[in-house]
Symmetry: C2
Subunit: 250 residues, 2 copies
Amino acid sequence: MSEPTLAPTDPRVAADDGDERHFCSTCAFSQACLSQGMDKGALLDLHMLVEHVGPLHAGECVFRAGDRFEAIAAVRAGTVKTFTIDREGREHVLGFHLAGEVIGLNAIDGESYPCSAVAVDTVMLCRFSFPKISVLAARVPGLQQQLFRLLSRDIGRAALLAGDWTADERLAAFLVGLSRRLAARGFSPDRLQLSMARTDIANYLRLAPETVSRVLKRFQDEGVLRVDRRAIELVDRSRLEALASPALRE
Amino acid sequence: MSEPTLAPTDPRVAADDGDERHFCSTCAFSQACLSQGMDKGALLDLHMLVEHVGPLHAGECVFRAGDRFEAIAAVRAGTVKTFTIDREGREHVLGFHLAGEVIGLNAIDGESYPCSAVAVDTVMLCRFSFPKISVLAARVPGLQQQLFRLLSRDIGRAALLAGDWTADERLAAFLVGLSRRLAARGFSPDRLQLSMARTDIANYLRLAPETVSRVLKRFQDEGVLRVDRRAIELVDRSRLEALASPALRE
DNA sequence: GTCTGCGGTTGACTTCGATCAAGGCCCCGG
DNA sequence: CCGGGGCCTTGATCGAAGTCAACCGCAGAC
């Protein structure tokens, strides 16, 4: 695993050099703030404190559990995996974070990150110093509100994962959720290209990798999916959603 | 189940009548704000928007899943259980909230509460209109920070519950966590008086009630606990913490 | 007092998913 | 072309916890 890159001194952090990348139209965090009613001036302030990080390549580390908490980050492109290693050395994946999603929020309560984050594929990030963004949030109601919402949303996500669902429900919910999130980003909702390994999915869903394999196989046999390595086609979306339904909100 | 009591029009909400209860010295939320460096004036503002609710008796409802989200609440006394009912009618307990803990935070992202909350025993609450407290948070950095921390903490709690622990680990972690929280409130850390039923504990830990019974029995046989109905004595605290350790932070 | 009901316990059996073990597939490097 | 190492799949077996069912005991109603 590489050195963490959210450390304030990291040389790969692009300087705030005033070029147009600055306005990072791809940064869905800013876009979300806009859609939350933040005015243009405030958005400009937000862009004044962003630092662009990346590209990070698969396996590179964004931050490590125990690192001093300094900043949250919005994923601009790629997939970030957050996870902890427990005392027995087992990895618990907390989440996969796609473009527009924010990582590091669970570190606000504490001096240091309670989990590690690594790039699953090629990743671009926007780094926001948390002290600075807090100050700005006090001036800009829309930003404060947006942060509250992001935090609140993560509570719900984590609680959902904590339910006692069967392997089928978990996997179905995972695929439906992923499909929706990818669709919201302009990708096909029915042809997923997974960026993570089976083992990561298993650790996320608290299943054994073998179980993930078997359930995917069965879903394919039942005509719900077509699976080819990491390419997954949702053949019968309504059946899949029915399977997932107990474990999905809304 | 009774009518929810966090609705703005609820008659049981004590009016902001300027009496000394107003300063609710027992409201650990305010105390936490104080300890976070909020100045006296700001604390006064906070007290201006609090409404005292209760007492609610066991089984009475604080809010229901689907109710319009208007307010968060700090528990002043007693225990509140938050939970959802899934499509199959199974209850998933999200948490037990003791004095000083805040409920409703997972509703910020959305129009309505995603879970219900009921009193487990006799409960007193402080109700805070969320729009109002947001406005105040923008003026008072300590309050904003405190809210961020509370939200962040809940993410961690939920994620911890989501790990794939054994029944023994879950129950041990539950008891150790409860013991610590009660100790922080001035109760004996070694003699717990549970306020909730076995079924509630089971639904919280994603176990069957029978399993909770059996594990408690075994812990007692092994000399770790003494169990008498809802009174639990932690006989061998270090053994219990060792059992719980994989599932505990810090 | 007795009846009734709920919460809790205990036992017998079942089951889902983990574990253990082996083998296949694909990619990369020599 | 062959060899090696991830990643993934498949099969056989095991075990932790769920389910089903019976029973206990305390509390409140009458």
